[in-house]
């Protein structure tokens, strides 16, 4: 016998279900008066936030090409200088006018999600190389048993993307475009394909 390691096991994930909005965006689903506003709703920036304003919009598609109308999408990103607004950020202090996290339910008719944010700066990979600007995505919905993690990179960052240590490890290079948000003006479009020919790359983070 040896000593038991004594670690606990992570609680198993379960689907968020079709009514995830009751808990996460109650005002969106018509439950008013419990919370003043839905957590993570609204613009992520204010007048003092540093950085370039962008709008991220997109939809989540199932394996039959139908947009999900009951997904919940959360994003987490660095500020314009590449710092995260988190106690675990050790390199410096993030912009106090930028929280870095938001959530958006897909529109009940079109499935579209929208985030008003800033373009993130570059943060270092573990070995010090810089990662390209990116936004972390987490997608939950009915039919998704465990939240799916992906990253959105930017089409106007070709050089940084070419140096990115995460993109570099993707074996099938033809899949990389699934991680690139298409920038036109101030809008970045990022559609997510859960399954099939254009399946988005998802990460085990």
């Amino acid at each position: 016998m040896v000593q038991p390691l004594g670690y606990l096991k992570e609680t198993a994930s379960q689907t968020a279900g079709p009514y995830v909005h009751i808990g996460c965006t109650p005002n969106f689903t018509g439950i008013h008066g419990v919370f003043d506003a839905d957590l993570g709703s609204g613009s992520m920036v204010n007048d003092q936030t540093r950085g370039e304003r962008i709008t991220i919009r997109g939809r989540v598609f199932d394996g039959a090409g139908t947009p999900l109308k009951d997904a919940l999408v959360e994003i987490w990103q660095a500020d314009a200088d590449g710092f995260y607004n988190s106690p675990s950020e050790t390199r410096g202090k993030a912009d106090t006018n930028f929280f870095g996290w938001a959530r958006c339910p897909g529109d009940m008719d079109t499935g579209e999600f929208v985030f008003e944010t800033v373009k993130p700066g570059r943060a270092p990979f573990r070995d010090g190389r810089l990662m390209a600007p990116h936004v972390n995505f987490w997608i939950v919905a009915r039919g998704i048993n465990i939240g799916l993690n992906t990253r959105m990179y930017f089409s106007d960052e070709e050089q940084a993307n070419a140096e990115d240590p995460i993109l570099a490890r993707v074996e099938h290079k033809m899949r990389i475009p699934t991680l690139i948000g298409k920038r036109e003006g101030d809008t970045v479009t990022f559609d997510i394909y859960l399954q099939g020919e254009n399946e988005t790359i998802f990460f085990d983070i």
Binding site: E10, G23, L39, W76, G143, N145, I166, D204
Partner: protein, 246 residues
């Protein structure tokens, strides 16, 4: 959060054997919503080991009391009054302080207050079904509610969800993000539910079943169930040959 130094270390790798796989065809919606290609492994960078931390300031007095937070003054919801309490811990057994816990559920008859819900059971005019709280410095949380009823759903011809409460939990890093469901001790519907059965590991299912906790019941007032939630652990010490950013 005040007493806990910030942790800057990577998380333990997620043990995917305790979680449901993406493709579980007996839960029909998963068929077209499951990626077919393998996940690409990505050891924690700053981008994953950091995450939003919410201050207690976002929580109002009755956010964790579903018995009163939607009720008209002087009225209350119909159903079995219960206290749900427990701790948010990580895999090291350490309480996760300052963790935002959100929860939502159907009413005593199994009816959700949602635009797309069509079940025959009526809404309760005094029950919204949503609440949230933030764990204390030792990771403890609690809320008061009405025990939810089971409800039928369009999957198999005659599928019924066990009584359950949905939980959404934030730890300290985005990689700890978790949504799960709590079930109630002794419910025979648990073991025939296609969503429960997405989890291949029986022990992992049992860890989602909250036991009746007579020690926490409030006599002549409410029953109690205890539900601990375990988030991913993280290495306790930073053992890196080369520090980030150098």
């Amino acid at each position: 959060m005040k007493n806990a130094p910030p942790e800057t270390t990577p998380f333990f790798a997620r043990d995917r054997d305790v979680h449901p796989p993406a493709y579980t065809p007996w839960y029909k919606t998963s068929v077209l919503r499951s990626p077919q290609r393998a996940l690409i492994s990505l050891e924690g960078t700053k981008s994953e080991i950091t995450g939003p931390v919410f201050g207690h300031g976002i929580i109002n007095e009755f956010d964790n009391d579903l018995i009163v937070n939607y009720a008209k003054p002087g009225e209350g919801p119909i159903g079995q009054r219960i206290l749900v309490h427990g701790r948010v811990l990580d895999e090291r057994g350490i309480g996760v302080a300052g963790a935002l816990v959100e929860f939502w559920q159907a009413n005593a008859g199994g009816r959700y207050r949602h635009k797309k819900e069509t079940y025959l059971a009526p809404l309760d005019p005094n029950f919204g079904g949503v609440g949230r709280t933030i764990t204390d410095e030792n990771g403890f949380y609690w809320f008061k509610t009405i025990k939810p009823g089971p409800y039928p759903w369009p999957n198999g011809v005659n599928d019924w969800r066990p009584a359950h409460i949905h939980f959404s939990v934030f730890g300290h890093g985005f990689a700890q993000r978790l949504i799960t469901q709590m079930y109630f001790e002794g419910d025979p519907l648990i073991w025939i539910c296609p969503i429960v059965k997405t989890i291949p590991d029986k022990d992992a299912i049992e860890r989602l079943i909250a036991p009746l906790d007579m020690n926490a019941t409030i006599p002549h007032d409410m029953g109690a169930y205890k539900f601990d939630i375990i988030l991913r652990g993280r290495r306790s010490t930073l053992f890196e040959n080369r520090m980030e950013g150098n």
